[in-house]
Every structure is written in structure tokens, then in C-alpha cells.
Symmetry: C3
Subunit: 426 residues, 3 copies
């Protein structure tokens, strides 16, 4: 199945050069490409719309930008890498001294080869980002600053894809599409979520799925402000998907009280299927779980990551590129989320239908022997022993220390024979 | 008091040669011998009776069995050891080739001197068990197979002894009498339980005691199916007694959720009185706790063992004999159960009758001194400090880290003076 | 602020020579000196008054006492150290043999230079205490025993100071004034409590404060028997203050179930502000927490100490003097209690007033930057994230691992802007 990995990496390559921000045509172009895979509905929310404590900002678009020296040489070029321009930079075209320019430059002395990623969404300003090595080469003199951008009333754009299931209860999946040319944070999220949506749609499903592609922070706040009632009514578990495409380990950011259904699901999946994962406290949050889990919103949601935002050196620099994010990394990320969804789709309360142990031999489930019984027979007996009509499957898996994949066929066999039955979750 | 140990070992010696199974005259003969000690009522449940998912099987009896070689030499002889014959073997008398015989032989390559114990209750078949060393000596040729057994409608036999107490609340004690010539698993259980019953009967008692001697699995299922309502109504704690006569350590099998009154009792007794005991999870179950603690039955029961079934090398072989089970081992097992019953008989909620500390000196309970107070005075004060009308004695003993034996005389003194009073358990 | 330390030490020096006991003029004189600092109301409870299981004893006063040898030499002299006389010694004036005298002497072989502190409140007797070295020097012969004391109907004396606050809910502070010339146990308690009361009075306050200076045991029993209803109705947290003036570590004695509001407060203060403190179980109790936390009384109270009674070698001997208790030690003790009161005065439930994160930049609380945010900004965001209208400040401080002092200014800023609001405790 590295086919899906390669396809995801190809999609990431297609999306990579587009200059996305929290608003603007970069978002629209990206969503349009995604909509060739899944039928997302694209929504526009006008600038100036009040969303809780915030206001949807003006729309920003950019055609070109550069810094030119007195000899006419382009020394910083938006066309070469769109993170050279600070996000939301206001338009400008004038000659300034190096001393003035320096006040608008951003670089990282500790990572002298990396171009940092910087934005100024809510304070109008302009700026350029460059490697510290390049910055040190700048000589005194005049420089032409040219930014051909627009910042004016428009709208915030996002994509929504709702896949109905047997019940109105929803699994909520959120990822963000506001970052320009960076790969793990954040093309991995939208790319994995796109392929995840295709997979969900291809399967019969118990739950409905609400999947959104939004700009970070202002996008989740906007979405919540416009959909809060239905989300609070229907969502039983949510997963924020971010930084999920590199080749390193797996991690998640727990909910504030580490007690939601989503926490239980991801903890089980990681415990049983993934070694050496990292559990981050909500104090280490930084993505849209900040909004989804805030007081009063309080969704049962965790953030799923491979190398988490802020926890890898390439984070928010030009080094976060498509060599860091790989086909195998994306495929692992996809499987990680799918593992969570498989468990959630199959988690029920199970109940033994009779009293005392069933006579397994009579049902063809047991061979008499000398000593002991096979691992599978033991699993079966343990399962039955804890199917008391109160415990859900997740609880039983933890109790008998068994993975979901191992127990599911046994459950299905016992259900078919009628030894156990399943009940809805409480 | 090694007198009781010797008497128990003598009883075990008397019972040892009898060929018991889950039905048949071996069970009846054994119960008859036990009834010379305690007035058990012997019950018969007809073959074919439906008991939950099971049916009471045909009754099996056996007179003789052997394997004879072509020279007329008896090479496997039921009369020498009744576990040579697979339990529930059907009758047969014919000459077969060694190759055919091999398909019906059971031995243990890893324990080449031991005869294994094998049964085939629910699939009609015949078989012989022998040491692997003897098996290796068998030469090609014809062998006469002779089993003089009967398998026909009859009944399942068990013994019940109910000792009434001050209340209808019951302590439930269960042990099994279905194993042929083996000592720890399982003559230790019936023998210790017989002497336990004599001791219970000899004392005034708060609780009623329901004591049963049954065949394992089918016996407990049968008993539950016919007594479920009264048991669920009256039983406040139960102890399944098995493998309780060897000289090694002490152990118990916890209930499925490790939260019953029986769990609390045995944990306290082992913590305070026995070092290096083993607590087994319900996942390590294997005796009748499987039925008593199954969903829907859910009795507050644990299994008490010394070396637990499956956890000692002699288990289910001819090596489990009366050199493994000793007078001292049986006496230790008896005391272990008695310790549990002593605590349960004396466990109440206690309440200080006055406010603030009582003036101990006034009640003759305290001598003024220079510094500190005696250990007993400290125990007394600690007891009073936690007699709040909510905590039961078990809780207090854990809190103040004190054994039951140490605190009981202090409790009795304070009760007599009227400083504390006792309340029923909630 | 070592000014307060020196002032407290001066007060201790003034009180030190007075011969206090559980009744008598020593208590009255001491309370009179304290009343020059704070307006305590002095109460008298007559001898013979029934208080729960106890009776207020006769009042004891003493003018002089000595032991004189046959040469007329005073060898034990009450005037030199009032703990030479056993507390509540009955009057006597006669010549006795050394053998008789020995039965009335108390000394400590293991601390041969220390005079022990001994009392006999409830059994009429007389006695002298001396260093073991001095005792060994006694020669055979006659000795004149002279104790000029009175033991007759009178009263038990205590001081009470109630400082009203915004609410009727009370913080209860108790210390004892029954020990003669010893410093840590117990002049440190009354001295620190006196200065604490001055500080409380000088501040605006949310809670009312009930502060009592009583004799140990019989005093707290008497006070409880006469004020139980109002105390049980109003007190939300109590602190018994004892042994709080030496230079060593900090400690507390937990309540019986370690679950009261007072436990939460002191655990937080010690965890965050004091290293290497000792938490004592209620099983290590020994001061008036014995009464305040007894069944039926059950106040939410802990005892605050530096070197706890019984846990330092000078305890209850002449070595517990004003070189052991220092200005710095007393000042540290004062701050320890003040830290507890500061937290309790400021502990509320806090609630975010809006949904999702507030836009901090808009409120002037955030500067956009390259990577990360300052520690204070992080603290602010963490605080808001947990202000859910359920958690109190104490809970949040533990969760985000922050000290009260660090977070209070941030709370005040967010309250002022209106981002969070505070709610009463539940």
C-alpha cells in the first residue's frame, strides 16, 4: 500500500508551491485541488464578520515581492520561496537604507541556513525572511523594497465535507490549510485528511464524519462560532490532524482533562500498536485544539501528530520541506488516524447472553486436550468473562491486554453464534 | 494443634484411592466418608437436566481397566493408579496394534516420570495415561485394551451443608470432589473444607454458611442454576477453596474487578499475616470462580489457594500425591481460611459515642507518664480517632496498619466501657 | 522585615519566665501581655464544668517550690526554672528520705543535661524534675520537700479574638498557652499567632477569623463544647499553630483523611514555596488537631509546625529555650502561616467569559513574534484554558505548576480587562 503514500506525496508536491495564508486565493486554489479528490463544499465568510472575541480579517493576496540592491540585483525573491515574505505584508515599493530594511528582516542565528516563517496577521506591517547567512552578506546602501500585495475586504475561505453515517453522532476531523510552502506543518494534515476522507467514504460506517479544512485559529474560531450547536450536540470524538507526515515517531496532544472518548481511543491505539510514542499534555498545545478544547467549547478532541509542531528543528522554517515529509511518513500518518477510526467504529458495549460460561465445545469453539488452552481460546474466554453489559470493548481490550485487530474476529464469531451481543455505548 | 493437620491428612489418605469423576459412585463414596465428619445433605441431579448452556451428562462408573501385552502381561493397570484411565473412557475390550493404541495414550515428555491426568467428559472416547518413560518402552505388536466402565443415564451428585447463623446473610464456601487420586488438586479442598465446617459449627456465628462439595464446572453450573436466586440474595462473600494443602506459599485469585468484600477480606488477611503471598488476577482463573464470577452471576467471591492449580509442576499428574500435601500444609490452609472468616465475622462499622477524645485516664485506660505512650494506648487512640460511623474495621486496620488479632481485644474493651459502639455494615 | 522577627522574639522573652499551666494566673498573666498587642477577649470557665467526656479541673497556682538538703542547701529550685516542679503538684512541706524522694523525681538518662517537663493534671501528686546528672549527685539522707501551691476551685482561662470579614465564613486559628518555660513548644505558637492576628487585622479580608489562645487538650475540648454549632457552621479551614519558631524545616500534620480544604491549601504552599518539608500523617498527631479532627467534630483543619512536637530532641525539656527559637525562625513561621492565608483569601473559581481563546493582541496582552511566547504569556493562556467555571485557583495552580505569587498579577490583569471573572467557591 505504498501506493497511497506516493499518491499523497504527489498531492503534497502539487500543493507545495502555492502561497497560502489565513485568507486569499492560495487557500482557494488549494481547496480546489483537494476537491478533485473529495467533494468538499467551499465556504466564504466575509471580512469583518464577528466571531467570538475575534473579527474575520481583510483578505490578503500577493502577486510578487522582492528586495533589489542598488545594482539591480534581486537579493530576496518571493518567486524562489514564498516564505521569504512575511505573511500579510502590506504593499510597498520604495528605496530604503539597509538600516531601515534590517528592522523588517527576520532570520534565525541558531539555524543560519533556514528561512524562518513569520506572519503579522493582526498588525499591519511588511517584512522579509531570509537565512541568517544571507542576511550577514548584506552591505550598507539603498535597497528597493517591492511587495505587490493587496489587503482589503474579502473573505475567509474554508472547505467542509460531511459524510453521513448510520447515526447522527459525529466524528469531527479538522486540519488546516493556511501555511505556505512548508510540508509537515502543514501540508501533511490536509493531504492525509484528504486520503482519510476517501477511505471513510469507501467504507460502510456507523458514525457521520464532519471533516473541515480551515485556516488555523481564526478558521476554527469562525467555524465554531457558526456551527457550535450542532457540533456540541453531535460530536462524540474529534481529532485535529497536524504535522503527520514525517518519518519519526507518533504523538498526540491530550485534551485538557485527559478524560474524553478521543483520549481513550488514541491511548489504546498507541499503547497497543505503536512503540515509543509521546503523549503531550494540553499544556504543550499549539494547534486548533486550543480552540476546540477551550472552556465552553470543550469538544472531546485530541490532536494527532507524528513530530509535533514546535518539537522538531525544521518547524516553521524553509527546512520543513518535502524531503522531511515522505511517502512512508504520510502513509504511517494515514494509518495512525485510520487505526483510531477503526476502533471507534467497532467500540460497543458487549454482553454475554447466557449465565455462567458457555459450553464452548458444544459450539465448536473448543477442543479438549491435556493441559491448558490455546491463546485464542483464552482470549475468547477472557472476552466472555468481561462482557457484562457495562464494559465497552476499549475497556476490555485494556483489561485483557489485547489489540483490537486480534480480538475483532473472535468477537464476530461469538456474535454470530449468539454467545455475546452488542449494546449501544452509554 | 498439629492434631487437626494429622486428622486432615488421615482423611485425605482415606479418600485418595477412590476413583472420583464429575459423576458416579466415586463421588458418592467420597461424600459418604465426609458425612461421617459433618452432616452434609447429598443431592442427585438427573442426567439430561438442562443447566444454563450445559446439560448434566451421563453418569460414568468404572470397575477395572488395563492394557495387556501379547505375553499376557498387564502393562497399564487401573488398579495401581486410577488416573491411568482417561476420565469418562467408554467401555472396550479388544486387541489393537500399537499404532492404534498410541492414538489413545497420553504422556508428558517434559515430565517423563509423571502420569498425566486427562478427561474427556463431553466427547465419547477412551484412553490411557502413563509415564513417558513407560510409553517409550512399548514395543510393536498387539495389545489388549480392556475398560470395564459404564456411561449411562444416572445423576450428578453433590453435597451441601448449610449452617444457620444470626442473620440470613451468607458466607458461601465451595470446593470440588471430582478429581481422582490427586492430593493438592483436589483432595486438599474437600478435606480442609470439611474441617473448616466442623470449626464453624463449633462457634457461635453472625453469618449463615452455605458449604458445597461439588464436581468442578458442571457442578457449580448445576448448583447455580438451581440456587441462583437465594445465593444472589444472601451471599455477601464467597470463597472457592482449591489446592490448599501443600507446604509452599499462599495465594488467591481475585474477583474480576478486584472490588468485592471477599477481595477486601483476603487482601487484609494476607497483607497482615502472610508474607510473600501471590495475588493472581482473574485472568489467571481456572477453578469454579470462572462460574461464580461470570457476568450475571457475579458473586463477591475469590479463590483461596496455597500453590494454585496450574502453578506447580505436579499439577494434574500422579506427582500430586500425599507427599506433596502434608499435615502442616493442610493445617496452614485451614488457618488461612479461618483467618478470613474470623475477620468477616468481626467486621463492623464502629463509632465513637462521644465528641472529642475520651478522657482515657478516667476510664482506667491510660497512665500519665513522661513522654510518649505505649503501643497499645496508641492503637486505642488511633482506633477511636477513626471510629466515625462510616469506616468499617477492615478500613481502620489498613489505615492504622494493624492486624485484626492485635486490635480485637482493644475494641472489645472500648465497647464494654461504652466509648465506641458498633453499627451494622452498610 | 526581620523587625517582626525581633519583635516576636522580644515578646517570647517577656513571656518565657511565666509559669503557665492549663489553668491559673500564669495563663492570665500571659494573655494580659498578649492583649497589649491584640484586643483578645479573656474568658473564664469554672472548675467542674462538664465538657464532653471531661470536667474542667481545679485551678492550680504556685508561688514557690524547692528541695533542700540536710545542710540547708537548696538543690532544686523552682525560681531558677519553673519546669523543675511537676505541673499540678499538690502542696507539701516535709522531710523525706532520699528513697521516698526518688519516687517523685523525673530525669532523662538519655539526655543527662536536660530537665524534663512533666505534668500530672488529673491524678493528684507532687514531683520534681531535674537533669539526670544532678540526680546522680544526690546522696542518701533526708530532704525537705517544699511546694507552695494551691489546687482549688477556680477556672480555666482562655483568650479569643474574632476579626470579622466580608463573609461569615471563618478561618479558625488555634494555639496554646499552657506550657511553662519552653520556647518552641510552646511560646512560638502564641507569639506567631499574635503577630499573625495583627497582620490579618491590618488587611482587608474576605473571611472572618476566629483566633483562640487556649490550654492544650482541655482548652480545645472546652472551647469546642461551648462553640461547636457556630464553628461547624462557619469554619471552612482551620490551622492549629504549634512549634513554629525554630530555624529548621517546615512541616504539617494532615487531617485524618487528608482531604480537607486546609490540607489542599498547605500542600500547595509547601509544594511551591518550601523545599524538603515534611508531611505528617494524622497518625503522627499530638496537638489539638486530636480534638478538632475527632469524629463528630471533624473540622477541616491541619496543624502547622516547623520542627514538630516529639520530632526534635529538645522537645519537652529545658533545652527547648530561646536559643532554639530565633527571630528568623519565628519570622519564617509567621510567613508560612501568612502564605496559607494569602492563598485562601484569593482562592476563587475562575471562568473565561468568552468562548474560544480571546484575541490577546487586541487587549494589549500579546506581541506577535517569530517563535514561541514569553513565560508570562504562556501562563496567561494556560490560566484562561483552565478557567472553566469549575476549577478553583488552587487546582489551576497545581495543574499548570505555578505559584500563587506568580499568577496573581496575571489574574488581576485578566479580571480587569474582563477576560475572566471570578465565582464563589462551591
Amino acid at each position: 500500500m505504498s501506493k497511497a503514500g506516493n499518491e499523497m506525496h504527489d498531492l503534497a508536491k502539487l500543493l507545495f508551491p502555492i502561497c497560502r495564508s489565513i485568507t486569499g486565493d492560495g487557500v482557494r486554489d488549494s481547496l480546489k485541488i483537494i476537491s478533485e479528490h473529495i467533494p468538499i463544499v467551499i465556504k466564504e465568510v466575509p471580512s469583518g464578520t464577528k466571531v467570538f472575541d475575534w473579527v474575520v480579517p481583510k483578505e490578503w493576496n500577493i502577486n510578487d515581492a522582492f528586495v533589489e540592491d542598488k545594482n539591480g540585483k534581486i537579493i530576496i525573491d518571493f518567486k524562489k520561496n514564498n516564505i521569504h515574505v512575511m505573511g500579510y505584508s502590506t504593499p510597498i515599493d520604495k528605496w530604503v537604507d539597509l538600516s531601515v530594511l534590517q528592522n523588517h528582516l527576520h532570520s534565525l542565528p541558531d539555524q543560519p541556513n533556514a528561512i524562518p516563517y513569520v506572519t503579522s496577521y493582526y498588525k499591519e506591517n511588511w517584512g522579509f525572511c531570509l537565512s541568517h547567512n544571507d542576511r550577514k552578506k548584506l552591505k550598507d546602501g539603498k535597497y528597493r523594497i517591492y511587495i505587490d500585495s493587496t489587503l482589503k475586504d474579502g473573505s475567509l475561505t474554508y472547505g467542509e465535507y460531511i459524510i453521513p453515517g448510520e447515526t447522527e453522532e459525529e466524528i469531527f476531523l479538522s486540519t488546516y490549510i493556511c501555511h505556505p510552502s512548508m510540508a509537515n506543518n502543514e501540508l501533511s494534515g490536509p493531504v492525509v485528511t484528504t486520503f482519510l476522507a476517501k477511505w471513510i467514504k469507501s467504507k460502510s460506517r456507523r458514525y457521520s464524519y464532519r471533516i473541515i479544512f480551515i485556516p488555523e485559529t481564526i478558521g476554527s474560531i469562525t467555524y465554531l462560532s457558526q456551527n457550535l450547536n450542532i457540533i456540541k450536540k453531535n460530536v462524540i470524538a474529534g481529532f485535529n490532524i497536524s504535522c503527520i507526515g514525517d518519518d519519526k515517531g507518533y504523538s498526540y496532544v491530550a485534551s485538557p482533562y485527559e478524560d474524553t472518548y478521543a483520549d481513550r481511543i488514541v491511548e489504546h491505539v498507541l499503547d497497543k500498536n505503536y512503540s515509543n510514542y509521546i503523549k503531550y499534555s494540553f499544556l504543550d498545545r499549539g494547534s486548533d485544539e486550543r480552540q476546540y478544547c477551550s472552556p465552553g467549547i470543550n469538544l472531546p478532541l485530541v490532536t494527532l501528530c507524528r513530530s509535533k509542531f514546535g518539537a522538531y528543528p525544521e518547524y516553521h522554517t524553509s527546512l520543513d520541506d518535502l524531503s522531511l515529509v515522505t511517502p512512508g511518513g504520510l502513509f504511517g500518518g494515514l494509518n495512525y488516524v485510520r487505526d483510531c477510526l477503526k476502533v471507534i467504529e467497532n467500540n460497543y458495549i458487549y454482553q454475554s447472553r447466557g449465565l455462567c460460561e458457555p459450553q464452548l465445545g458444544k459450539h465448536g469453539l473448543y477442543k479438549s486436550g491435556v493441559k491448558g488452552s490455546s491463546k485464542n481460546t483464552r482470549r475468547m474466554k477472557d472476552l466472555i468473562a468481561y462482557c457484562n453489559g457495562e464494559n465497552d470493548l476499549l475497556w476490555i481490550l485494556e483489561k485483557i491486554n489485547c489489540s483490537f485487530e486480534e480480538l475483532l474476529p473472535i468477537i464476530n464469531k461469538l456474535m454470530k453464534i449468539g454467545i455475546i451481543e452488542r449494546l449501544p455505548l452509554k
